[in-house]
Amino acid sequence: MSRSVAHPSQLTDDWDVVDDPTLANVVLTNGARLYVDHAHPEYSSPEVTTPRDALLWDRAGELVMREAVRTLASSPPGVNLYKNNTDGKGASYGTHENYLMRRSTPFADIVRHLIPFFVARQVMCGSGRVGIGTDSQRPGYQIAQRSDFFEVEVGLETTLKRPIVNTRDEPHAVADKYRRLHVIIGDANHCDVAGLIKLGTTSLVLNLIEERAVTDDLSVRNPVATLQAVSHDPTCRQLVELADGRRLTAIQLLWLYLEMVQAHLEVTGEGGERHTAEVMRWWAEVLTSLERDPMSAAREVDWVAKLQVLQAYRDRERLDWNDPKLKAIDIQWSDVRPDKGLFNKLRAGGRFTELVTDDDVRYAVSSPPEDTRAYFRGRCLQRFPDNVVAASWDSLIVEIPGQRTLHRVPMMEPLRGTRASVGPLLEEAPRRGGADPRPGRHRRRRPAGWPPRCRAGAIGSAVVTRREPLGGSQRHTEGPPWPVRSRCAPRGVGATATSPRRTRAR
């Protein structure tokens, strides 16, 4: 095939990222961060305000990883990627959710009301796994990939002694106003509905906790053991024993949460908001299906879909649960490639309820959400790629032509920097870098549409060491949403200015 007829996305040798294949930490034009975490690549989607957007930019991450596989395929031995959470041999790696919460909410309330929810939530959004036990010691199938790896109720760690509620709290925002709730217990989803309700129902329950509107204490006896027992029972009949002696299934427990949320929404009048209504509708729908017959949720819930296929395969081939063929199906289920990934093949066959279109997902690969600071981050990288020296969740460091110092733009308010507030400013600014047509300035050619623009890495506190006093520089009431000029660093100081591309992920 000649280059002129190839789809632009295939001309990957034009990408800046290929200039430096060792680059291990980048920010994309969609506002996401892509980096190497321990031994695997990690995609952290941009900040969003709705579960639907969280789903969309998570799906975009699948395409980013697929593109990475395609790019690396040419250099032996090649690399392949899987969107799953365990290798079935004792190792697990998380799909973390992060929720911005009010600092004033007592953490004890979060712990008390979230643990029972997380014990039960897996029946709606687990991704299913062949093997019981961290090393798959016992043959069988279970609902969630992560559950066997949890050992304690609350704690700071994420790689050992994993806690149901994790206490890591780096809000990447005004810290006396916000806390980050770092949720490490969820599975990676492929099903849109499961992905939407995983994030949406958790957000609604957190809202209930923040508003002190939890009317029924559902504390569970022995939460860690119960979490695993629920995961090990794909019939969903396992009983959960509450501290007050009640015995309920996980589904019944979730109905109680749903009813509390519904009652609260009726009081506040927020139930009609379209994203809330969508989550409430799917939440009820999925619980109804699971209650009637778990297998009837095969179009919406990952673990059910996977079990249905595995069971059919077992029946046809008369296989035991420890047959390598079933384990191979489990792994290959989450292969990111469209032609090899079993989920992707089945999705192409229309076997799942889809909430977002392929076009939307492709758009989200290179474009940021419009209603958070991710818009500012992503658009700056897109329009001024050569001037952004470093980007983090809460700041941007830019080089302004003709000036001797670098400028740091703090972004401590996640809801500032939206399209509504900075869109016109960014659109009108003369474009720098990228496809600048000015004569005499050489620009690398970049394919239209696709490129997850990989430049200006260096995210995180290791780079941005001069943190502003909390919220201190953001009290401007007019002009740009934040001071264009903030603290300046002399050029050439620190790793950021001299070699941002070499900065390693933390």
């Binding site: 975490d37 321990h38 031994a39 695997h40 899987y82 365990t86 290798d87 079935g88 041999k89 190792a91 697990s92 790696y93 998380g94 973390h96 994420t158 790689t159 490490i184 589904i251 109905w255 749903l258 009813e259 519904q262 139930g271 209504a277 409430m280 509708r281 939440w283 009820a284 729908e285 619980l287 109804t288 209650e291 009637r292 296929v309 059919a312 395969y313 046809r316 047959d323 390598p324 063929k325 384990k327 191979a328 199906i329 792994i331 290959q332 032609d339 090899k340 079993l342 093949k345 089945l346 066959g349 076997r351």
Partner: protein, 59 residues
């Protein structure tokens, strides 16, 4: 729409036996085609493939 608890209301439309049987046949054909599709792309040496799938590190 207001979500309501619907499990066990018994308001599912009743299907007659003929419909159920036709529906089941269609489902079976559907499942067969899915399994065939999986056979088409599944790694040929499942045992070796599973053995080589090892993750080092990770949260």
């Amino acid at each position: 729409m207001r979500p309501t608890r619907r499990g066990g209301d018994g308001d599912e439309p009743a299907q007659d036996a003929g419909q159920v049987s036709a529906h089941k046949q269609q489902l079976d054909a559907d499942v067969d085609s899915v399994l065939d599709e999986i056979d088409g792309v599944l790694e040929s040496n499942a045992e070796e493939f599973v053995r080589s799938f090892v993750q080092k590190g990770g949260q």
